[in-house]
Symmetry: C2
């Protein structure tokens, strides 16, 4: 094969969409460059397990090079893409320019603060391994600092209660799984390990701005999720719109909720790379793509995954979930392969196999169209589907053992506080009036 004659395909982002695109094209006579700013792919559905100390980062991430090692026409480049020049057909990365014949942009999304980026230091979100480690650090540190405080002479019961307040903002899948798991950790995992504080008195508050949790799910599953969360010990508040996040507290209108740790699971914004393509965007910054996943005026440029905005047959926007990204990655790659063989492109059709959201140990909801499942069975489906889809990960077996082990023993082994020992908002929460914690309207 003549290397020179081959079309060059550049794929930006090695998430689910990018990986599937690269794999699908690997058999075609093209030269592929897969660019990502990280050297590893993150299995995002299990990120909350890292944030809650159930799994180690290495168990849900795999080196991109390793995943692609057998595809010899795929070159992996760790580099951050900054811009595109569509007229010259080059990607501008911090390592230099990369020319392409076809471009697939799969740069994903990150969490967003609705224009309040100043809230981020006090309410980290969960999109990357680094985010997960930061959340893990804060959660574990709060318990340690509370114990330390309680063991010292300055012991103040009221303050201790506030210190054990955890607030999760946002009642989508991420907020639900974080809140459920935090409640479990405090009530079961840590229950017998502290001598002064009582971790079971931890208050986990889940705040959702809309009228119900999991708005993308059918109403009966939203109700079920709320019940399962309450059973785990989570305080759920819907129609509770957060108006301010400050060090050590969250404001919901007039109500101030003190919190040692606040987690952000409320908003998602598409990668800023979307803007650089010059194509029309939706309100969340997603690129409005053609039915074949290319962008208007540039049939050689495809956008897929969380960065793409496309409606399904029923006129409903496709959600930002892994199955959509994977199917789009495959479809874009096939359209390129078809075109190179002189065949026509196909429009993308999403095949929805169902939606699953996990809540905690043996707690989940599953929406398989007409069939709705809750509780243990839904959780089992969730578990097996997700472990099965750790495809290309060496450690599916060890992850399964790890999970079986922590399921049977209530242990969470990855409970390491790495990084610095300062908890943002800790000083403020110690000085906080605790009136609210005992009398506020959110108190059950």
């Amino acid at each position: 094969m003549d290397q020179k004659a081959k079309s060059r395909v550049v794929i930006v982002g090695a998430g689910f969409g990018g990986l599937l695109a690269a794999r699908t094209l690997a058999g075609s006579p093209v030269q592929i460059t897969l660019v990502d700013r990280q050297n590893f792919h993150t299995f995002q559905p299990l990120l909350y397990q890292v944030a809650t100390a159930g799994l180690s980062p290495g168990e849900i991430a795999a080196p991109i090079r390793w995943i692609m090692r057998k595809y010899h026409n795929v070159e992996v480049l760790m580099s951050e893409v900054q811009d595109f020049d569509l007229s010259r057909r080059v990607v501008k990365a911090d390592s230099g320019e990369i020319g392409y014949d076809y471009l697939i942009v799969a740069a994903g999304a990150s969490h967003a603060y609705f224009g309040h980026d100043e809230w981020e230091p006090f309410a980290p979100g969960l999109k990357t391994i680094e985010d997960a480690l930061e959340i893990r650090r804060r959660v574990l540190l709060a318990f340690e600092l509370a114990e330390r405080q309680a063991a010292s002479s300055k012991h103040d019961k009221k303050i201790e209660q506030v210190q054990l307040n955890f607030v999760v903002v946002g009642g989508g899948p991420t907020g639900v799984e974080l809140a459920g798991t935090l409640a479990e950790i405090s009530r079961q995992v840590l229950a017998n390990e502290f001598r002064t504080i009582d971790p079971t008195r931890t208050r986990v508050v889940l705040l959702e701005g809309g009228p119900r949790l999991l708005p993308a799910y059918p109403e009966d599953l939203s109700r079920s999720a709320e019940e399962q969360l309450r059973f785990l010990g989570v305080e759920v508040h819907t129609s509770a719109l957060v108006t301010q996040v400050a060090p050590g507290a969250v404001q919901i209108g007039e109500t101030r909720l003190p919190a040692a740790v606040t987690l952000w699971a409320a908003g998602v914004a598409a990668s800023p790379l979307g803007k650089k393509l010059g194509a029309p965007l939706d309100r969340a910054g997603r690129v409005l793509v053609n039915p074949d996943l290319s962008i208007p005026g540039h049939p050689e440029v495809f956008v897929i995954g969380d960065l793409a905005a496309l409606k399904d047959e029923n006129g409903k926007w496709l959600p930002g979930v892994a199955p959509v990204a994977m199917q789009e990655g495959k479809a874009a790659a096939r359209n390129i392969a078809s075109e190179l063989q002189g065949e026509p492109r196909k429009n993308f059709h999403y095949w929805n196999k169902g939606n699953l959201a996990t809540i905690g140990r043996a707690a989940a909801v599953a929406d398989f169209g007409k069939i709705h499942i809750s509780g243990f069975l839904a959780w089992l489906s969730w578990l097996f589907i997700h472990i099965f889809f750790l495809i290309g990960f060496r450690n599916r077996l060890t992850v399964l053992i790890q999970w079986a082990w922590s399921y049977l023993t209530y242990e969470r082994g990855a409970r390491l506080i790495t990084g610095d020992k300062h908890l943002p908002g800790w000083e403020q929460v110690q000085a906080e009036e605790t009136e609210f914690a005992t009398s506020g309207f959110l108190k059950k």
Copy 2:
């Protein structure tokens, strides 16, 4: 039992010595406070596996609280000890003062630069999980940056060679295992994952200032270790004293050795807490303890592990290894328990069961007194003894599976570059003259 009447024992440091002391005393009528600045115990013998991406941090660390959960008279405190007031019998920690009747100081050691602390940014050592993650980051980043450099238009073969120079300073057990594992990674693990650079051309140089590697081992095992290292592809240089560490290079007298990554495994210094006890110290800052492990003039204060200096029956200083620390922890705890029962203390005697140093996959040396073993058998002994001693760790099974898996497949799964993407010394190594790399006396 009357809580008030109980003696208070404070143990500083939850390494091997501190943990064993706490466990041994847990059955006695005492109130124990175990203080550590981390919330987890690190299984130090496997730290090099984290540094070389074979294991995740969570697989070689366990929360101290969890290890102690069943010992209800043990209180665990995450706090940093800053000083002692032996006359008032209090430990001064950043969380406040802690009173004691008996004190066991097991604060360990860290790496030292022989008065050249300015070398640390360019040659990190390996004593903590954070150190291990920093080394992992640098090693993996060097390969990524080299590939990126090579793939770009500025491709320069000479520079590429320098970029793939790894220098390990210090031929003790840590230096030997780091150098051996780095060579393995480059020659076997990464061999087929890069499209532009050739990882098998990586140069791993091990520099030892003294006349032979593993000076604490018998001479035949030193020779064997050197042979096994060479077989793995490591360049070994003894009597090569490093006189300067700079960004991107190491100086050995007149000889300059360019290096993308330099690792420091040359010196150990006892914890600065040793000084605060007011007892006599040896040159390495270790506390010269009485035969019963207490310090002169303070029978209620014990020092154990890497921080203690004590000779064995033959007048030889006991080495800073885990078995010594564990046996000392047990002995100090028993002396306290005996005294509380009105029985006399016993002098410490070290029972040396043998010394093992690992070199790489199926490569190690073992010194069991009259019996010296090398190679695969020594490695098997090392493997089983270390996995067996992951006692109190939930994940012995998963670690074993992980190891078996990476042994069979040559995979190293924890290859994540987390943290920033800058490699100290990278700019310098790119500008470096590469003359040395092709003609220096160290070149084989």
